[in-house]
């Protein structure tokens, strides 16, 4: 285990050391102490390593992650795991706005609640939130999966493309062009896998969820739908 004190060694040294880990490395386990809400912790990683941050993080923790598993043993500020490509990011506490924004792959797990715009513009990432999510979540979400064990705020899935949204609790309102859809066998199968990988299989079962997706009415502009935009 490599222990890195962010307060004394600094952000640049941290990311630079983590970026230097290419391909097969023996330095696979890292612990970052004293994060104290710093921004851009463990961003741009591209190696199969495990990084645990002991405390809460500021903006963009694990941004653009590839391959690595990053666990925040605390809460995460805005944009955690933004544009993640692959790997896993787990937040033990809550996450602020834009969690998993534009993520293209991998798995983001938030054990607490996520604020507004969770999964905004997501492009292939899977996100599992154990608690609730705020308003405008999955706005313009293109592909991937958003699983919410709690409730969703206003305007869920506004202007949605092909992403799939599963919510166990209530949905305050659906956004433009987002509708409830039938749960088919492949969706139960998908949920079972995501709940398991999202460390949530003991808390919820696939059959407790409802599925939401795009009505695809706004895919090509039609003046008669103008009031929906």
């Amino acid at each position: 285990m490599q222990t890195f004190d962010l307060e004394t060694e600094g952000l640049r040294a941290l990311n630079s050391q983590l970026h230097a880990l290419k391909g097969q490395t023996n330095l696979t386990a890292w612990e970052i102490v004293n994060p104290k809400g710093a921004h851009a912790i463990a961003v741009g990683l591209d190696a199969p390593i495990d990084v645990t941050v002991r405390g809460s993080t500021g903006y963009y923790c694990a941004g653009m992650n590839k391959q690595a598993t990053v666990r925040v043993a605390g809460s995460a500020g805005p944009g955690v795991a933004e544009n993640m490509m692959s790997g896993t990011v787990i937040v033990d506490g809550d996450a602020s706005q834009y969690a998993g924004a534009t993520g293209r792959g991998g798995l983001l797990v938030i054990k607490g609640n996520a604020s507004s715009r969770c999964g905004i513009s997501m492009k292939g990432i899977s996100i599992v939130v154990h608690g609730n999510i705020g308003h405008m979540s999955a706005f313009m979400a293109q592909s991937g999966n958003l699983v919410v064990l709690g409730n969703a705020g206003e305007a869920l899935g506004d202007s949605l493309y092909e992403a799939r949204i599963f919510v166990r609790g209530s949905v305050k309102s659906l956004g433009a062009d987002c509708i409830e859809k039938e749960m088919r066998p492949e969706h139960y199968e998908l949920l079972e896998d995501l709940l398991k990988r999202g460390e949530a299989d003991a808390k919820a079962k696939p059959e407790e969820f409802r599925r939401y997706g795009s009505a695809r009415k706004l895919y090509n502009f039609n003046i008669d739908n103008a009031s929906s935009y």
């Binding site: 990311n15 970026h19 851009a40 924004a101 293109q142 592909s143």
Partner: protein, 442 residues
């Protein structure tokens, strides 16, 4: 009675035939007009400025003997690897999707041969473009189509796009007819649907957030890449100052003459300011912060010739960017395709339905048959020639003003032909020492 003269038909200056035609079009279609390009209205522009040249009090440089340098460094504020260009005319961001793959290749070829940079666009980085561009600027846009850390690292600079001159405050729309397989795959969306590009970034709002976003991009790329911030010409003093505050190495300022692949005509024609009005405000912001020449300023929007380049630089820009002019150099709107333009209900030099994907010149299209009309090697050569001519023209003017580097051109070298241009550019009306809004005169 019949011999009395009749009142001849008189067109309204308000309800012109063009205005009436647009009313009829809107009434018939129920949708606003979407088109490509920049504003087509007459605006105060570089044509309204003149250089004074050398005289008794200024010595000119000998055209064929004395050097007039043209190079520029970009990104010297923070980046470990700033960019050095031979000429200060860069190629503006235009997306693969809006343009064909071969057109992007040609831009890379021409820019590289001329010693300058090209820029990606709202569709990610293509192999054609990266492979043929020695210096490539990678745009970071609200849509984040195709965004990934590997391309960030193989870019030579990163341009965070806040806005563009054709539509400050607007997002984008690539219509379904241009979404062929490869474009759809790169953008992670179904084929054939309209692709809306958001007007705001998904994970930051405002200059305080942008400062943190720029920190993240620098950390991901180990502080190697210059980071540009591109803004549309709206509030250039404050936008420039806030970009500097957010940590930009370079500010890119795009006036309303700057083109777009597809936007509402009403947006293009009625939002934003001409580049002439933007440059002095941006330069003033940099000067007030003590950052002029430390944070470089690239300006764009209606740059057509070496005279425009020299005028922009005399007003304080470090470099310029061209988009529409580069497409014309490649062959866009060329009269050789007139027959095809007529079939589309338009004519060469007026074609602007770039969003429809039926470009006879094969540049703003994804249609394989039309794309095949365009030769990227020949197009690249034409662009190189054009860039070289612009540079020679700018040097000719600079030497006449006694300057041994384009960066030594200054507002004092300029006068304005109109009161409007004098006020906007902050240079005297020709034949007076009057700068409207600043100094008295005669």
């Amino acid at each position: 009675m019949t011999d009395l003269p009749r009142t001849p038909p008189r067109y309204s200056a308000t309800f012109t035939p063009a205005v009436n035609a647009e009313i009829r079009r809107a009434a018939a279609s129920g949708i606003y007009d979407i088109r490509g390009g920049g504003t087509k209205r007459h605006l105060p522009h570089f044509d309204d400025l003149l250089f004074l040249g050398a005289s008794m009090s200024r010595y000119p440089l000998e055209g064929y003997r004395e050097k007039c340098a043209t190079d520029v460094w970009l990104g010297t504020r923070h980046a470990k690897k700033p960019i050095h260009l031979d000429i200060p005319v860069t190629i503006a961001g235009m997306s693969f999707g809006a343009l064909s793959g071969p057109a992007k290749e040609a831009l890379g070829r021409g820019a590289t041969e001329a010693g300058t940079s090209t820029t990606t666009g709202d569709g990610g980085m293509t192999e054609e473009e990266r492979g043929h561009s020695k210096t490539l600027v990678y745009q970071y846009l609200p849509s984040r189509y195709g965004m990934n850390p590997d391309d960030l690292r193989r870019a030579d600079a990163i341009e965070v796009v806040v806005g563009q001159g054709a539509k400050p405050g607007g997002g984008g729309m690539l219509l379904g007819q241009k979404i062929w397989d490869r474009v759809a795959e790169m953008r992670n969306l179904p084929k054939g649907i309209d692709q809306r590009s958001a007007c705001r970034h998904p994970d930051w709002t405002g200059p305080d957030d942008l400062e943190i976003k720029i920190l993240e991009l620098r950390e991901i790329t180990d502080w190697e890449k210059p980071i540009y911030v591109k803004v549309g010409g709206a509030r250039p003093y404050y936008d420039t100052a806030l970009s500097v505050k957010a940590g930009a190495d370079v500010v890119v300022l795009d006036g309303m003459q700057g083109g777009t692949a597809a936007t509402q005509d009403v947006f293009i024609e009625h939002v934003g300011m001409p580049i002439l009005a933007c440059i002095p405000q941006a330069v003033k912001a940099l000067q007030d912060l003590g950052m002029h020449r430390k944070v470089q300023l690239i300006v764009s929007g209606g740059i057509r010739s070496g005279a425009d380049v020299a005028k922009a630089m005399a007003l304080g820009a470090d470099a310029v960017a061209i988009g529409t002019a580069a497409l014309i150099a490649l062959g866009d709107n060329d009269p050789r395709w007139e027959e095809d333009y007529q079939k589309l209900g338009t004519t060469a030099d007026a074609y602007d339905d770039w969003h429809e994907g039926r470009d006879p010149a094969g540049i703003t299209t994804q249609d394989p048959e039309l794309s095949a009309r365009f030769d990227p090697i020949l197009g690249g050569r034409r662009l190189k020639n054009y860039l070289k001519v612009m540079t020679l023209e700018a040097q000719t003017i600079a030497r006449a003003c006694g300057k041994n580097h384009l960066h030594n051109l200054e507002p004092e070298d300029l006068v304005a032909l109109t009161i409007e241009a004098a006020a906007m550019a902050g240079v005297p009306l020709a034949g007076t020492n009057w700068i409207p809004g600043r100094t008295g005169g005669f």
